[in-house]
Amino acid sequence: MIEVQHLTKRYGRVTAVDDVSFRVERGEILGFLGPNGAGKTTTMRILTGYMPASEGRATVAGYDVFAQPVEAKRRTGYLPETPPLYPDMTVREYLDFVARIKDVPPGERRTRVETVMKRTHVDDMATRHCGKLSKGYRQRVGLAQALIHNPDVLILDEPTAGLDPKQIIETRGLIRGLAGDHTIVLSTHILPEVAQTCQRVVIINKGRVVAVDTPDNLTARLRGAETLYVHVDTKGPHVLAALQKVPGVARVAPADQRADSGAYEVESERDRDIRRDLAREIVTRGWGLLELRPMRMSLEEVFLQVTTEEVDAAAAAAPAQTEVPHA
């Protein structure tokens, strides 16, 4: 549905997007993740035809965004970082105007406007001026605007920015509900959002794609050496020493840095499951095992790891070697 090949955008000497390639299948939600200034917005602006790329190609719904911009734009809904609202128009007037310039047939316009207002829960503000809306409503009217012509592709630049927690949950639900009929690319720097809404993630940093995978795979594959959280009802250096001696254990450290509370972080050697041996050891020594669970690397850590330059675990990142889409 969306295909991006070797996209590069330079502003003068600064390269905002550097040789970015990825593809999004029909009905998929792709998360675009990266720190601020990574080139997310620039990439989205190129995809929506707002600005041309310096190099590379992008097609949306089979139309080249440079060669056939009008056809591509007709199939794309775009929510920019700041919702593009006209403060002097009421929500209904505004959506009607957008419907007109997005080529919604005159006969369907009214029903489309009402449908998207219901869908994005802004129908109670239909006669309010856009300039008087709260941030949450502005964002949702912006989303309504992107949906108005029922586009194949939705490009959402930080769709949940500025919403309160309840609205965030609603909006994520809405976006998930839209997948299937629509192909969605959404950008965010909020990591749980990606885990909750997206089927695939593109992590971008300094204009380069550093990883493409599903959120689960990213967290799982980047884990490398596994760390377990172990809590026993005894404490002291002898516990530490005993745990250290279990085969396969690489390192043991108290979970609480300041005091030995009986909770330990046990790191295993690579690709070795040490849970059975660890439990047996503790039980045979007559200690009570209160808790034993794997500490999964959160997406935050993954993110930090792939976006930090001196990735100490270059080896750990290796298995996650990104399925960089075919050139």
Binding site: M51, P52, L85, D88, M89, F97, V98, R100, I101
Partner: protein
């Protein structure tokens, strides 16, 4: 064409949804009314004097012509306020992203904005017809020179709009757009003043450049193709450069 209409309507609505249109029309009508009153009372006094000697006065030449000539200068002062926001505001508020990512071409956007501003300008001119109505009610002016004069005003205003649009498209600051537009219009006006002193070669050129100078014949009721072509080419040129400016902006990001 449908898109041009949609954008023009949107522009017009945003003028009238805010106090802007009313302020602009008000500020236009106030000096217009003053000039109208002054020239009319002068005309009435003159014609009473002349009546004693049996001479006749011409309303078209003595009132309408001068009032509309002055109006052309007021328009020059007012027009930057109409055009300064066209692009600058959309760029500042980010709504330009909506327009540029919609299935409309740059030319359609520009024409939409052009006709939107022209619509407001026409509304301004329409209200001034009330004054002309007074002349027709109590006198008998010729209507044909009046039509010519209004056609001239329309063409002149449209030229101002296309230049204003160009300047607005180069910045995202309304104030900057307004001030620059104002200065440019002013130059277009006063360049005509040098006509007498600039010498035999430069003189005609400066008077030819002056936007308001070309209105002179219209105000007398003469439609000269020379002036029509001048205005039409100015409009086209302004819109063309606006299209280029929008395109450049897009490449620069």
């Amino acid at each position: 064409m449908r898109n041009v209409l949609a954008i023009a309507e949107k522009e017009l609505r945003s003028y009238f949804a805010s106090p802007m249109a009313y302020v602009i029309i008000g500020f236009f009508l106030l000096p217009f009314g003053v000039f109208f009153y002054l020239y009319l009372s002068m005309f009435v006094r003159n014609s009473m004097q002349m009546a004693q000697f049996g001479g006749a006065q011409n309303v078209n030449q003595q009132v309408i012509r001068y009032v509309l000539q002055n109006a052309s200068v007021i328009i020059l002062f007012i027009m930057p306020m109409i055009t300064m926001r066209t692009y600058a505001e959309e760029k500042r508020s980010g709504t330009i992203e909506l327009l540029l990512t919609s299935p409309v071409t740059d030319v359609e956007i520009i024409l939409g904005k052009f006709f939107g501003a022209l619509g407001l300008y026409c509304a301004m001119l329409l209200v001034t017809l009330l004054y002309m109505g007074i002349l027709f009610r109590y006198g008998n002016p010729e209507w044909r020179p009046l039509v010519a004069a209004y056609l001239g005003l329309l063409l002149m205003g449209a030229s101002f709009i296309s230049i204003g649009l160009l300047i607005s498209s180069t910045t995202n600051n309304q104030i900057v757009a307004g001030v620059v537009t104002f200065v440019v219009f002013l130059l277009f006006w006063i360049v005509g003043w040098f006509a007498d002193t600039a010498g035999p070669t430069l003189g005609p050129i400066t008077s030819f450049l002056s936007i308001t100078e070309h209105f002179d014949d219209f105000s007398k009721g003469v439609i000269d193709t020379k002036h029509v072509i001048y205005y039409l080419s100015l409009i086209t040129f302004g819109l063309f450069l606006t299209a280029k400016s929008v395109d450049t902006e897009r490449w620069r990001g």
